[in-house]
Symmetry: C2
Subunit: 206 residues, 2 copies
DNA sequence: GCTAGTTTGTGAATGAATTCACAAGCCTCG
DNA sequence: CGAGGCTTGTGAATTCATTCACAAACTAGC
């Protein structure tokens, strides 16, 4: 399969969100122009993005909202339930655990981990907080596909190495640091500090 | 000034983080090769990125860690203190308020807002939570440069419009929705849902 | 069933970002 | 002080992403 750009996948995600909104309003078709306007891009971009995966529209008419929604969910891999573990039960871990979007999109949080003995045994939104030392044996016993890292920057790389060795192939990292992983492990980093600095750069060079 | 790509600014942010780490370890010079390795890019990319802003290295030797740190801080606009308001005192707002990186980098949280009467008057990491209705008058009385939006998706656009009208030119948005702002207002969105879908896409199309 | 009016899908053209490759400059050592 | 060994800074080449532009395909109205 031809390599798909990250930017394309991110836009698909945006389109899907709008399609779901449109579907909720009972609209049955939508044009690339409409999707582009709401998503802050161009209609040609929308059509090009979709064209990588097939032909979903009807010329002269546009796209069927339910059909395109279903196709995008499929392309993005949202058709199945994904099991997620949260590593780090601090404020960020807690905010994530209660985030509704997780469940809505089919993500199931199966476990949370922390190194602090005071937190172990307590629960995070109904999920028991377990001891970090159990990480490997737990994953072996009850696999998960995705690990969310909400740990201090200093230990993020080490924790990534551990979850990768345990067989997890997808990691969402919240530590503001560039992590290095084997080629078969996908890491996405949500780096607030970087975004903030993008803002101060813009403010400074306005 | 020539337009600088977002990707370049994000990398500068990464380089700065490493320089600070290196500085802490007492290292005095660093090569583009070393920065590239740690930042997951190439040495040519590092040099090109820096070249947009000037000439910071010494041929044959590399870059002075303290000098390049200072230059990058300057370029990124981290030389001054920025005042930040947090709109939305839910879990995400709370996680942000306690985030150490804010203060470390010179960001000062001056106020927090919420629409829920139960939260108003309480404090978030030492910052009083105020009523959303005061937003405009507060900003007029005590300006801030940056607004962080940690509000429900449904009201994010409306809140953005309000802070933009109040004169704020930089917004960090945590609602998983594409926002539309006037050209002179910079909006950066941290969209966890999108990153997660990037992961499931990778898992599905591996 | 024909015409007018839309909107898609996609090669080709353009534009942007990254990588290459090498001259120029600096340091060290003998 | 000159030679050897590095590393930067940067045009040129390449790769990647976006935009253009238009034929093909569909609907609706008559």
């Amino acid at each position: 399969m031809k390599r798909i750009a990250d930017s394309t996948v991110r836009r698909l995600s945006i389109y899907l969100r709008f399609l779901e909104e449109f579907g909720g309003k009972g609209l049955s078709t939508v044009s690339s122009e409409e999707l582009a306007r709401r998503g802050g891009t161009t209609s040609a971009q929308v059509r090009k993005d979709l064209s990588f995966f097939g032909s979903f529209g009807k010329r002269g008419l546009g796209y069927s909202v339910p059909e395109l929604s279903a196709s995008l969910r499929d392309i993005l891999g949202l058709g199945k339930q994904w099991r997620v573990i949260i590593v780090g039960a601090g404020k960020i871990g807690a905010a994530l655990a209660q985030y509704r979007g997780f469940r809505q999109r089919g993500f199931l949080i199966t476990a949370a981990y922390d190194a602090n003995p005071e937190k172990i045994g307590r629960t995070l939104e109904g999920v028991a907080i377990r001891d970090m030392t159990q990480l490997e044996s737990d994953i072996a016993a009850e696999p998960a596909e995705i690990a969310v890292l909400a740990v201090p920057t200093e230990v993020a790389q080490e924790v990534l190495d551990r979850v990768a060795r345990a067989g997890i192939k997808a990691v969402l990292n919240f530590a503001p640091v560039q992590l290095h992983a084997p080629a078969d492990v996908t890491v996405k980093t949500v780096n607030m500090a970087m975004e903030l600095e993008g803002l101060t750069f813009a403010l400074t060079n306005a």
